[in-house]
Assembly symmetry: C2
Homo-oligomer: 679 residues x 2
């Protein structure tokens, strides 16, 4: 379909279904979006929870202004107060058991948390630190003795705590931590000690001001033997002063999130009772015997870490929701701001410029896609942690799938936020630079999302590792070096391409509309089967390519570190390809289940824009791998532009469907008059 | 050249020229970089000026901390004080005539300004507002009566002023401003009036606190007739209070640059004497007759604006220098931070990971390239404004070329800064998020660079307009609509491709190594002629494509606004292609002039990485246009990785060559021990 055959988009912001001009030459009829129904669809199973949180955000909207006007100490206290007030409504602890003040609904807790990201993100992160990280560690790694003693106070916010894992010398490589907890059988205590100059705990939320206790991750030493990383509950503050042996330093001003009191912790001969060990997966008996149901130390470590997967899911979801704020402001601005006369009569609305459509609308489509992808991973968390999985399902496999998907969705979601917020800021010009217009906080606060709860690049390598597992189940518990060595020993040639045509790919090719030889048939561009086949082809091909390259490198006598270093960008590409396929699949499936109607038509435009936009962005790869001719590649670009023009008149409704409360947008001069508030 | 045939890079940070391991199999010998000579080369003609400014920055390094610790009003005053202190050294006004306290050297003033960007950027922008924008308007648009009365006070900082052009309703579209200055012949005064609700001046630096006077851009009305936008000197503050009829509002907290007091200005019946008109290009006689040497109103307007081109050149240069700070910190961090064991003995340095090399080193290469490109445009400014052009050169043409290049370099330089700072921040993990490590300020402060002094997308359209001029000199003074109409009337078919092979392209093709049919010959990848031919091909093809699309759209009966909207992304692509060619050409030429030696070898690696990295990034386009086979495209990607490995051992020297003073890096824990300070 050539550009010139598509009628120009309607430039008015309203659409009248009875207006014949909505009918397009190629049979496309511009849909009339039912905004409340769209919101209902996105809100899904937890619509009530999300509405409650949105109402709470509006109630506390003043905190957005406080973030700008208060001093740092004042704002930290203000954020704590808001968090405690919110805690009183129950919305921050829905994932905890009912006996401790929770709702026992993990899915609800995820929905509540990610919705909080429409508001001030210091509040969000403080909630995450207190209830997700600290509370989550006590709940997931502790046992009844910890639950009974602490959970009710944690849930209410009476006991504020820290999650002290990260050390300055070791961010993502947790197994190399330098804090040690040595069991002293004589006193029945653990002695917690920071052992290396670079082994202080850093960037720990709640540490600088409010935390009284920390879940401290340390190398456990029993009887002179190291047992790997375990978590301990260590009081860090008594009556507002650092506990004996604990040194606390403020991390000081940060790029953003300055309502969260991040700090550093050092431990020098800090003694805690034996019961301070969070002993769900391993314990030390009074007389100093280490016991665990999990024999393999590596497996034990990853099992512990695995219980903390919710943190990643939360960050990914929060990032996606923060993107909604940015895309809503920028789209509404583009629908009221005029600049330059193009037609000679009146200045044009920004969103009537093709370039502006190209800048914003694919991000809008991707925001929808990521929302749906997040819904899938959140449902997986709920299934795994609530024990509501299909009884026939393999729980280990489900957990592994969840970990991979959580890591990947977090990476994609947070990068999406960084990109969307930046593009939307620029699309609002100088006005986007003023704090009252939200972008300053959105940008500064979300920036760290790409690196906390696991650096995105490290997470994608984790995802890739899981994918290579498909070549052998033995990959599972290997470290990076082990993986390289293992791959070198694999008979990978038997499963991957020998010539330019890959065996595994044949079945994908067969799935394409019209089968082999029809890659260049225009008709298929908007066919979800074609779109998915392209994504699957890329995924399979890149994963096989990594395995092949690893083997070839080792075979040629290079050392494994060098091989991995050289293959690393392929590893990342393979993980991304896998994740993009999952996102598209989730989005296609979600929309496919809808009853026919205008909302489905509108959402299918977003699916197409997302799918083809993704192919367009990586069209070089598809051409290099013989899956796109240059003609078809150009046709895809034209189709993307055409889809943008079709979505243009629906843009306001589509951002309204995201249901960001007006009070969270602020930016009165950017967004123009209200059309009725959403809360 | 396949990846596997390249020996792995040396992983140590030092290189010993006598060490045989520096000799590589393919004849490449790892160079020993002479860092001081490299700095001398980059500093160029204005080495002394740059050294002075670097020393001044170190002297005032405390302002980087003040930015974090002071309240907003305190910090604004602090920044003003630093600016006035710097002014006393003469470094901030080198472009002004000597009789008013300047050095009469425009090139020196640009070098001094851009070097300031290594330090606090509020200081930089305050300098830009006072001496560049306000002082520049008085100097360039005023005449002796203004110069004699004001320049000495402006140069010393005794008279602080504003450049009041931008209005909230109109950012980049200056011709549509809503402030009006009506000549009242009875009193011999201009009456300045904000006429529309959206016609307040906004984001005006120096307005909220320190400015006493403003160069106000307003529609001049004489005898009831509008004469277009002119500039007037209007007192806005008397004894610290707003002048009668002037309303001033603070823009409040911004994302960054909070040491600059941006504000809003409204004018209500503000009377200024006839002499307040900056009358270099047009004047009003006492009895109310409008006189100008330039007949055409449009041309007059663009001539006025043209004199202000230095602002754009300054912003571009500042952005490039801010990038140097970011890439230096991230590279040095990557050379001391270890993470994960890849080889099983010790954790690897971050920069030994292929992915990390891929993330940072192309940005390092591009920082060098942009520095050189900036040097070229700065020299053009110097030539045009100092009257030192070749006497045979056409001054109008030189001015037009300068305007285009200034606009384009500003766009590329500021986008480069945004991208580099973000990637470097992420590459430093959580530590990059702490304010003391510089990224918070770098990111927040530079963010607005992409949209101020002309939105980058608007600037690229300006560049494209200039390029289309090649199809006819009549394009010159046309507005967007005029351009579209004009193109529709052009016999463009006579100059652009009729088939898939373009006539204009033939000569480029001829310039390729080996001539026609050798596009796929591996040998040429590192040949600058090949690289430049690729860039030129893209440029010619995209420009011709825009002209063709404009014509086709008009011919098919669409309205010009719609056509332009649909072609806009091609317009942007054409401008980018043009600019990328200019940048590469400047970089290639600069390095080619060097005497043979190790520094030249090192810089040629950067040229190759920059050139091939650029082709790789846009390889889809080259494949779509038949200028890259998929095989060769993959070969380029391998070569880019190989170049990264070659540059890896030189990375520390190459960032040291950028000569960012240690005190400007801060980040003591990120950058490790000093190797001797640079100031």
């Amino acid at each position: 379909m050539a550009t010139d055959t598509v009628p120009p988009s309607d430039t008015s912001d309203t659409s009248d279904p009875s207006d014949a001009s909505n009918r397009r030459g190629d049979g496309y009829v511009e849909p009339t979006v039912d905004v409340p129904a769209l919101t209902e669809l996105l809100d899904g199973r937890y619509a009530e929870v999300r509405r409650t949180v949105r109402a709470q955000l509006v109630e506390h909207a003043g905190v957005l202004v406080d973030a700008e006007e208060m001093t740092r100490p004042e704002f930290r206290d203000r954020v704590r107060d808001v968090v405690v007030e919110m805690a009183a409504t129950g919305q921050t602890a829905m994932g905890f058991p009912t006996e401790y003040g929770g709702s026992g609904d993990i899915g609800a807790s995820l929905a509540a948390f990610e919705t909080l990201a429409l508001g001030d993100l210091s509040v969000l992160v403080k909630v995450g630190v207190q209830f997700g990280l600290f509370g989550g560690a006590v709940l997931q790694l502790g046992t009844a003795r910890h639950h009974e003693r602490y959970l009710a106070d944690i849930v209410s916010g009476r006991l504020m705590g820290c999650f002290a894992m990260t050390e300055t010398g070791h961010g993502s490589n947790v197994q190399a931590l330098g804090t040690v907890a040595t069991y002293d059988a004589d006193t029945g205590e653990f002695v917690v000690q920071s052992t290396r100059p670079d082994a202080w705990k850093d960037y720990i939320g709640n540490a600088a001001a409010h935390g009284e206790m920390a879940a401290v991750f340390a190398q456990l030493v029993v009887g002179g033997e190291s047992k790997g990383v375990h978590a301990f509950l260590v009081p860090i503050r008594v009556d507002g002063q650092p506990a004996p042996g604990v040194t606390i330093e403020d991390d000081g001003l940060k790029m953003g999130l300055n309502g969260v009191d991040n700090g550093r912790l050092w431990f020098d001969d800090v003694r805690v009772p034996r019961e301070a060990l969070l002993n769900r997966f391993a314990d030390v008996t009074e007389d100093g015997v280490y016991v665990s149901d999990i024999d393999n130390a590596n497996k034990r470590f990853f099992t512990m870490l695995g219980t903390l997967v919710q943190g990643r899911v939360c960050v990914g979801g929060a990032a996606i929701n923060a993107s909604k704020v940015a895309i809503t402001i920028a789209t509404r601005y583009a629908l009221q701001r005029r600049q330059f006369e193009a037609t000679g009569t009146e200045e044009e609305l920004l969103l009537d410029y093709g370039l502006h459509q190209r800048r914003l609308l694919p991000l809008l489509a991707r925001t929808y896609a990521m929302h749906v992808a997040q819904e899938v991973v959140a449902a997986q968390v709920h299934g795994v942690f609530s024990g509501t999985l299909d009884p026939d399902a393999d729980p280990d496999l489900a957990r592994r799938e969840l970990e991979s998907r959580a890591a990947g969705t977090k990476a994609l979601g947070t990068w999406h936020a960084t990109r969307t917020i930046q593009e939307c800021r620029e699309a609002c010009g100088g006005a986007g630079y003023l704090a009252e217009n939200r972008f300053a906080a959105l940008k500064a606060d979300t920036d760290v999302f790409t690196t906390f709860e696991g650096d995105n690049h490290v997470l994608l390598q984790l995802v890739a590792k899981g994918l290579l597992t498909a070549y052998s189940s033995e990959f599972e518990e290997m470290d990076q070096l082990g993986m390289v060595r293992f791959v070198a020993g694999l008979a990978v040639e038997t499963v991957i391409e020998k010539t330019s045509v890959h065996k595994l790919l044949e079945r994908i090719k067969d799935a394409l509309p019209g089968g082999d030889g029809t890659w260049d048939q225009d008709a298929g561009l908007l066919d979800p089967d074609y779109q998915l086949a392209m994504y699957r082809f890329r995924e399979e091909h890149t994963i096989a390519g990594v395995a092949r390259r690893l083997k070839r490198g080792i075979d040629s006598g290079l050392n494994p570190g060098t091989v991995f270093s050289q293959v690393q960008d392929h590893v990342i590409a393979a993980a991304r390809a896998h994740l993009e396929r999952l996102v598209l699949e989730a989005f296609v499936e979600k929309v496919a289940t809808l009853p026919d109607g205008d909302n489905k038509v509108a959402l299918n435009l977003l699916v197409d824009l997302h799918a083809l936009g993704g192919i367009e962005a990586d069209r070089a790869w598809f051409m290099e791998h013989g899956r796109l001719t240059s003609q078809r590649s150009k046709a895809i670009s034209r189709e993307v532009s055409s889809l943008c023009r079709k979505i243009r008149p629906l843009a306001r409704d589509l951002v309204d469907g995201l249901a960001v409360p007006e009070a969270m947008l602020r930016a009165p001069e950017l967004i123009g008059a209200e059309r009725g508030s959403i809360a």
